[in-house]
Symmetry: C2
Subunit: 208 residues, 2 copies
DNA sequence: TGTATTTTAGACCAAATGTACTAAATAATT
DNA sequence: AATTATTTAGTACATTTGGTCTAAAATACA
């Protein structure tokens, strides 16, 4: 039996996903949960507090993925795993990315936190790429800061593919795999012949 | 002397850029323009009508760019020109991309129009790429639908780079060139040796 | 000049929202 | 069993918002 706080968070997530964060009021969430709005405020003093908790859930899910791939010795495979699982989480909490800018505009602490996480994410990809260059899976840079460019490009793709899918796809949920594949393909031009071999195996293994 | 309609549109654009579309009311725009809210409603019956007109301004600017590059015989150069000019326009109307999803969620006709324009844009890039393959500037596909993937990737980048810059950049306005360069660099892995030569010349010509 | 049309402001309304306050109900603790 | 703390609902309030209606003012026009 789940407690009232998780019920509230669950319903808030659902409403945010369906209607957009700014179109959902505290009162509406309370109504859906079946409690009074003052009771909801007792548990979460405002929308930002709800968003902070939901963001924490996302972070926890991300940490779970990191654990999951920590045993994987195939670096390219761990990239595939974290992408597919990560994209499912992003879809599950899609309101967060769809309303990314307006959320962070009104929540400065969260904005700061996101910026710090981004620094971490950047370094993580740098390390991953360096490792794969060492393993002769990725080639060396063809021009200065080529991989730095790539990491920014995939940051934007990661953050906004779900927004774009909402606009252009008939069934966004069914297109999660499509976008996961597109993300993975960002790395394709940088693969060595050896890398290509592993990559193509993984593509069919993951049915992408 | 500009008329009242363009004054309203100008002020709406400014407020939308500063505060986000959903945080700006008809009344607030009217207050800033210095007219009554009922007068504003007389000219534009609701926010959607304002957004439709502002979107039309964006389209007009895009058409101007197309004219501008229509004389350019260097296909790669016309890509550079349209990118740099296009990114400036996107920044000027950044509210539109930052609130892209919530705008289209509440404006179905505009959503439909955007989807049709996207089909057009897709074909445009297909044609551009095909032309440059013919000119030995781009290489042939290494795998099936490689360029189709690329076009989707750059669509997402085009649509959301300005959102991302708002979140991660100290001074988004100063970073327009940075993102224009990043966009251009999407094409870099696909260049032939001949293409690389022209590309590098253009990079310094455009100071990117 | 007189008439019609367009533009403008102001008042009013109902609905929604965040917030604060109070008191009742429930659970925990001693 | 008594008391203390936590949880819950209800009410009330000020503000904002989109929208409608009316009438005055400005403009165009015949």
């Amino acid at each position: 039996m789940q407690n009232i706080k998780s019920k509230i968070l669950e319903q808030a997530k659902k409403l945010f996903n369906d209607k957009g964060v700014s179109n959902v009021s505290i009162r509406e969430i309370a109504r859906e949960v079946g409690i009074s709005h003052s009771n909801l405020i007792y548990h979460f003093k405002d929308k930002n507090e709800l968003l902070n908790h939901l963001h924490q859930q996302i972070l926890n899910a991300a940490v779970d993925i990191d654990k999951e791939i920590s045993n994987e010795e195939n670096t390219l495979k761990s990239l595939f795993i974290s992408t597919v699982r990560g994209f499912e989480i992003i879809y599950d909490y899609r309101f967060f990315m769809i309303d990314f800018n307006s959320i962070l505009l009104e929540n400065k602490e969260l904005h700061q936190q996101i910026k710090e996480i981004e620094v971490f994410r950047f370094r993580l990809y740098e390390a991953r790429i360096a490792k794969m260059i060492g393993e002769d899976i990725f080639r060396n840079e063809m021009y200065k800061n080529e991989y730095e460019d790539l990491i920014i490009q995939i940051r934007i793709f990661s953050d906004y593919w779900v927004s774009s899918s909402q606009i252009y796809e008939q069934n966004p949920q069914l297109s999660i795999k499509k976008y996961a594949r597109l993300f993975i393909c960002f790395f394709r031009p940088f693969l060595t012949p050896k890398g290509h071999k592993i990559f193509n195996q993984l593509l069919s293994e993951f049915e992408l």
